[in-house]
């Protein structure tokens, strides 16, 4: 199977690889996995609590080229978006952008799940934070 140029580019030069402090109240962490291929994907966002804008995004994925490319692209898209805007990113957007073949669609699903997981982690923290301050 041949990977598209965009997948190869993200695979060779992944954007935003790394991690942020999980304990930071402004950081949301999403850890997801697909046992079928044995992939694990960690995606983190850092949100400005005043503006609700995602100021930074990082990922680390152990998996195939498409899984790495999907999460790399996701972090690029996340930066600068408002949290609720980020929830609108669909796996099909990733499939289209990276020209993923049908057998690799689950990689984009994983990236979408990771985004959702990171956002819900951030939101859960924000609620606890407010409760503590109030």
């Amino acid at each position: 199977m041949a990977y598209s140029d965009k997948v190869v580019d993200h695979y060779n030069n992944p954007r935003n690889v790394g991690s942020m402090d999980k304990a930071d109240p402004n950081v949301g962490t999403g850890m997801v996995g697909a046992p079928e291929c044995g992939d694990v994907m960690k995606l983190q966002i850092k949100v400005n609590p005043a503006t609700h804008i995602i100021e930074d995004a990082k990922f680390k994925t152990f998996g195939c080229g498409s899984a790495i490319a999907s999460s790399s692209l996701a972090t690029e898209w996340l930066k600068g978006k408002a949290v609720d805007e980020a929830l609108e990113i669909k796996n099909t957007d990733i499939v289209n952008e990276l020209a993923l073949p049908p057998v690799k669609i689950h990689c984009s699903v994983l990236a979408e799940d990771a985004i959702k997981a990171a956002i819900s982690d951030y939101k859960a923290k924000a609620i606890t934070e407010t409760a503590v301050t109030a």
């Binding site: 996995g33 697909a34 680390k60 152990f62």
Partner: protein, 170 residues
């Protein structure tokens, strides 16, 4: 479940491999094309299809993991249809950490990790054997869910072992 039926078996997760092999050879002889040389076309075709099913069945059922995946798939626990929310967070954390450690390890550490992963796999296989027996005794879907979880974990460990070998062969 067709694979068991074609070999004249009831669905079971624990199988006697000697018996399975005997059944496979006996059925293969029954379905051999030479025996259908003079048979009507439709019957020849049918024998051919059955013999292809028989080959798939034997290949799948003689491997415990493939056999369990087959039973799970036919019982609504297909590996491909799980979403990430079905995978426990602790397992993902564990696998992520193991992967990280592997990435930063030197050769002796990688070798040690390989030994540890093989031990983990052996432990999983032992627990699988117990659960297989449990399901054969009483076919409950709760047991299948546990087997699904064990096989997921096993898949991750297998991948880690593959990575260990890649690192070591470089």
């Amino acid at each position: 479940m067709q694979y068991f039926e074609v070999l004249g078996l009831a669905p079971r997760l624990t199988l006697d491999l000697k018996d399975l092999e005997k059944r496979f050879y006996a059925k293969s002889r029954e379905l051999h094309p030479d025996r259908f040389a003079r048979a009507p076309q439709a019957e020849q075709q049918r024998a051919l299809e059955l013999s292809s099913l028989l080959n798939d069945a034997y290949r799948t059922l003689r491997e415990p993991v493939a056999r369990a995946e087959y039973v799970l798939k036919n019982s609504g626990f297909d590996i491909g249809e799980q979403r990430s929310k079905d995978v426990p967070a602790e397992l993902l954390e564990e696998v992520f950490e193991l992967n990280m450690a592997l990435e930063e390890a030197d050769r002796p550490q990688i070798e040690a990790a390989g030994v540890r992963f093989e031990k983990l796999r052996a432990e999983i296989d032992q627990e699988l054997a117990t659960r297989f027996g449990q399901w054969d005794h009483a076919a409950e879907s709760g047991t299948l869910a546990q087997i699904r979880g064990l096989l997921n974990r096993r898949r991750y460990i297998e991948n880690l072992l593959r990575d260990v070998n890649v690192h070591l062969s470089n």
